[in-house]
């Protein structure tokens, strides 16, 4: 096996050194009846050439990867500068472990410190952790954190939060005695219904909203924060499209208490849903309740600045069942990719990407809205996603669009909402040239006339 340095002869010598006669004897502590007597039935070894051919032919069957696409809904197609993927492939980054030994891990530690800073700046919050698994689990952790802070057991969530995120929250809190209550969406605006906010009460730990929400509508976060705070509840803001932070008011400036986001938009490949990364930020006063790793500044005896993992007493390896979370491995390398993306795009690039997304989505929305039979059900301002109401069943329309026009037109909402057969969600980013948008519009027209 070419990944194993020691040759069979070397291994034989080492066996002799430790006083064994055969490799089998290495496993003498495993009772014989439990030991396999033959090889596993997994496939026999293949060469690089064969492996590449096999994987390429699997990848070929993912035809969606080769088509113009208007899918968003929690995973976004953005252009990632070439340097991002190049730099994360430096051995020193991707073959290192969690930076437990700061003297020989300053590269990772400084990068995380920069990541935390960037997340704070974009979200407008005070403190951010070193990443969570993804946006959905970050949200679940935020809900648990709100319970720890408020010691209240009810959590009110907008139904305009990504449905898979809500599912994950359900799973995480199911054994925690937390009651989840869902708020309707205003069928005219597409925003969380303000009437429904009556559900907030003094037992409420947190109000959870997403903005832009799952339907692409921008929520009035500040107003929602006011309502939550009025009841002593925290406001948790979730974001799936982090590029929106380049343009929209930061949750921090709108008084959010905890902000979670999916960071995939920051230069991370779609990769069929993962690995992505959860951003998690909050206020200084809640820093010691934050889940996951934190990196902080530290100095050595000679006064040289460095960085270390800090506030570890929150974590499972110290606090065990009383930890703020069970998370250990997080999304380190993906956070690094996001860091490089944010720094390469920089202040002006993040603004321009956001701007292009908004303009292209507006153009697409306008064009689709002009089509006979199509409408845009929601009036709230949007970032780069919007719901389209088709004159026919959306799922089959999109299926035909894929088959006949080779365009992935968006997400049929029936996947998550059985009662919305004709609606679909369209996402437009800077990676969709106008020609693709025009082809989408033409395709929708052709298939419904």
């Amino acid at each position: 096996m070419r990944y194993i340095p020691n040759s069979p002869e070397e291994r034989a010598e080492m066996l002799r050194t430790v006083g064994l006669e055969s490799a089998d004897q290495l496993f003498d502590s495993i009772p014989a009846e439990m030991r396999l007597r033959e090889h596993l039935k997994t496939p026999a070894a293949i060469s690089e050439m064969e492996l590449l051919a096999g994987f390429e032919s699997m990848a070929e069957r993912n035809v969606a990867a080769r088509r113009p696409s208007f899918l968003g809904a929690g995973a976004y197609s953005h252009y990632s500068p070439t340097v991002v993927d190049y730099l994360i492939q430096r051995s020193e980054f991707f073959t290192a472990y969690t930076p437990y030994q700061p003297e020989i891990s300053q590269g990772t530690l400084q990068a995380i410190f920069e990541f935390q800073t960037l997340v704070c700046q974009l979200t407008g919050m005070d403190v951010a952790n070193a990443s969570m698994y993804d946006g959905s689990t970050a949200l679940a952790e935020a809900v648990l954190m709100a319970e720890r802070i408020t010691r209240r057991k009810k959590v009110v969530t907008s139904t305009a939060v990504h449905p898979e995120y809500l599912d994950v929250v359900d799973t995480y809190v199911q054994h925690y005695g937390i009651e989840l209550q869902r708020l309707d969406v205003d069928s005219a605006t597409g925003q969380t219904s303000t009437e429904a906010l009556a559900a907030l009460d003094d037992k409420t730990a947190a109000l959870v909203v997403q903005s832009p929400n799952f339907f692409g509508c921008i929520e009035d976060v500040k107003a929602l924060a006011e309502q939550a705070h009025a009841k002593g509840a925290l406001l948790i803001v979730a974001i799936t499209e982090s590029i929106s932070l380049g343009l929209l008011g930061s949750p921090g400036s709108n008084d959010a208490d905890i902000v979670v986001a999916e960071g995939q938009s920051f230069g991370v490949p779609l990769s069929f849903g993962g690995p992505y990364l959860g951003l998690f930020a909050t206020r200084d006063k809640y820093a010691r309740q934050i889940p996951g790793r934190l990196v902080g500044e530290a100095y050595d005896k000679q006064g040289r600045r460095g960085f270390v993992l800090t506030l570890a007493t929150r974590e499972q390896h110290i606090r065990r069942e009383k930890a703020t979370s069970n998370i250990c491995t997080n999304e380190g390398l993906i956070a690094l990719a996001a860091t490089i993306y944010m720094e390469t795009m920089g202040r002006r690039g993040l603004q321009e990407v956001a701007h292009q997304c908004v303009q292209k989505a507006a153009y697409a929305a306008r064009r689709i809205n002009e089509l006979e039979g199509f409408s845009l059900p929601y009036t709230a301002p949007r970032f780069n996603e919007f719901v389209v109401r088709a004159p026919v069943e959306a799922a089959s329309l999109l299926k035909r669009l894929a088959a006949e026009k080779k365009i992935t037109g968006g997400l049929a909402l029936s996947r998550h909402y059985a009662d919305r057969p004709n609606d679909f969600l369209v996402c437009v980013t800077e990676t969709n040239p106008r020609a693709e948008i025009d082809a989408l519009v033409a395709g929708l027209r052709d298939l419904t006339k």
Binding site: P31, A59, N62, A96, Q110, D167, F272, P275, A287, G296
Partner: protein, 517 residues
């Protein structure tokens, strides 16, 4: 060289490393200069609408993203290249972190994960248009099922701890279904050995269990008597056992342990972080284990990436299978599809399907090794650990007699008499060119040094490691100051972690005004 890289005279010659010049680099915010740019987008190719018409002012940022860096592409490349050189990494040499399994990360696996048909695939594209990805998931599920001897596999969990949570929730859901809510509510105890990794109790807690700790025997195994005692009260939902345990020892009584728990109405969860000692040699399913998580980022060599990402598949018996997270990837004759219709499922633990990119790498690992190579890797890993165990016993206290599997624990007992502790030995190893072992884990071993060489280290470097450790043992006696002041060869010395935690500075702020958006 020795004199130069050491604070004081060293007793041994250091063969693995030397001192060399290394570039400094400030924080990117300190490099940033107004007006620098590092990106270019194609020109906007649609008619622009006034922004006010699309998004009213009140929803927009007012801070003009002040504080975000402004740097050129060259700045970025130099910034990250420089700071990267401050890291130790597998590619630089042995990385013997016990329990972490720092084995070689194949470049081939990196390459296949980046094939456009995988990397550019949206998770919500239709099943017809993503058959290759579903096939890959399915094939990996099948392989992991064969490797663990367990029928059901979900690849959704994003890491080991996530897999633990999933597994423990399966146990809970199973017992709820088996016993009914009422009876089940009296089974809320999860037994966990004192040697377990911290994620185990944390995950049990997340799933609403009360943790009871099982003692380990003085020879490093689960204390069967104590286990029986704890199982006597009818409240035990399960046991979370690591095997080989975190001391590197195979729990030889595993079948009996499983029987005791099963007889008490509980289920057995195995923490599979140490599966690299067993792959191709023995299967948890054959031992009586009900559910296990794997760390693809350990056993199957997906890169640790300085902290992640991982992938923590959860494998379980057929009985538990109905409870696995949705959606499940299943195969109907020739086509693959997502099955959401699992009424007994614990639900989703993550958006989409898990860390797919890691699955691509893990399947490549399995296919590249082949079934014989998988066993060969296990043998080589165990042999390397056994070799170190054998060579260091003369100089370090080895608290357990039993032959270790893939990792071995030593302590600082002998050295601490001279005031040299595990932390000092670890730091001194840095001067010898090594990344230290895992220290102070497992918690039950005072001054633990948990050494896991993995199969990815050749004999010459193992011997260098042994020499380094022996040399440090000598230094601890003859020149303890050098050890206590270590490392001497790094760009910074030991950092004051206590001060850092007392007044945490967790982000950069501009020198002048500390504004937030």
């Amino acid at each position: 060289m020795t004199e130069r890289i050491n604070g004081s005279i060293s007793l041994m010659s250091i063969t693995k490393a030397t001192s060399h010049i290394s570039q400094n680099e400030a924080l990117i915010f300190e490099r940033s200069q107004t007006g620098r740019v590092g990106y270019r987008l194609p020109p906007l190719d649609v008619d622009e609408t006034s922004l006010d018409e699309i998004i009213p002012q009140k929803f927009r940022r007012e801070d003009d993203l002040e504080g975000m860096p402004e740097v050129s592409e060259v700045d970025v490349v130099r910034h990250f290249t420089r700071i990267s050189t401050w890291n130790y990494s597998i590619d630089l040499g042995m990385y013997p972190l016990g329990s972490c399994t720092m084995k070689y990360n194949s470049r081939l696996n990196e390459k296949v994960a980046r094939i456009a048909g995988f990397a550019n695939l949206h998770p919500l594209a239709s099943v017809e248009d993503t058959q290759g990805a579903l096939q890959l998931i399915y094939e990996l599920q099948e392989s992991l099922s064969e490797i663990t001897g367990l029928a059901g596999v979900s690849l959704q969990p994003a890491a080991g701890a996530h897999g633990e949570m999933t597994g423990v929730m399966l146990i809970r859901a199973f017992i709820d279904a088996r016993d009914g809510e009422g009876a089940s509510s009296r089974r809320r105890t999860m037994l966990i050995p004192d040697s377990a990794h911290g994620t185990n109790p944390a995950s049990a807690n997340l799933s609403g269990f009360t943790v009871r700790t099982i003692r380990s025997t003085s020879d490093g195994f689960t204390d069967l008597e104590h286990l029986r005692e704890l199982c006597a009260h009818g409240d035990v939902a399960g046991l979370m056992l690591t095997n080989p345990n975190t001391l590197g020892l195979f729990e030889k009584n595993i079948r009996e342990i499983c029987s005791i728990v099963h007889e008490a109405g509980g289920l057995v969860y195995m923490d599979g972080a140490n599966m690299n000692a067993l792959v191709g040699v023995a299967r948890p399913g054959d031992m009586g284990v009900d559910v296990i998580h794997l760390n693809l980022h350990k056993t199957f060599s997906t890169p640790h990436g300085g902290g992640g990402p991982g992938c923590g598949p959860c494998c379980c018996t057929e009985e538990l299978e109905p409870f696995l997270p949705v959606p499940r990837v299943v195969k109907d004759s020739d086509a693959y599809r997502l099955d959401f219709n699992r009424p007994q499922s614990i639900g989703r633990v993550k958006a989409f399907y898990g860390n797919f990119g890691m699955m691509v790498r893990a399947l490549a690992y399995i296919q590249t090794h082949g079934n014989d190579g998988l066993r060969e890797a296990t043998e080589a890993a165990v042999l390397n650990a056994r070799y170190i165990a054998h060579q260091l016993t003369s100089d370090y206290d080895k608290p357990y007699e039993a032959a270790p599997m893939h990792e071995v624990v030593f302590t600082d007992k002998r050295q601490s008499r001279k005031g040299v502790h595990t932390l000092d030995i670890a730091k001194r190893l840095i001067d010898y060119g090594f990344h230290p072992m895992t220290i102070y884990f497992p918690l039950i071993v005072q001054g633990a040094m948990l050494i896991e060489p993995t199969e990815s280290v050749g004999r010459a470097e193992l011997d260098q490691f042994v020499e380094a450790m022996r040399s440090i043992a000598r230094e601890a006696v003859e020149d303890p100051e050098t050890v206590l002041g270590a490392p001497h060869s790094t760009r910074i010395g030991r950092l004051d972690e206590a001060a850092a935690a007392r007044k945490p500075v967790l982000r950069w702020k501009p020198k002048t005004t500390a504004t937030t958006a």
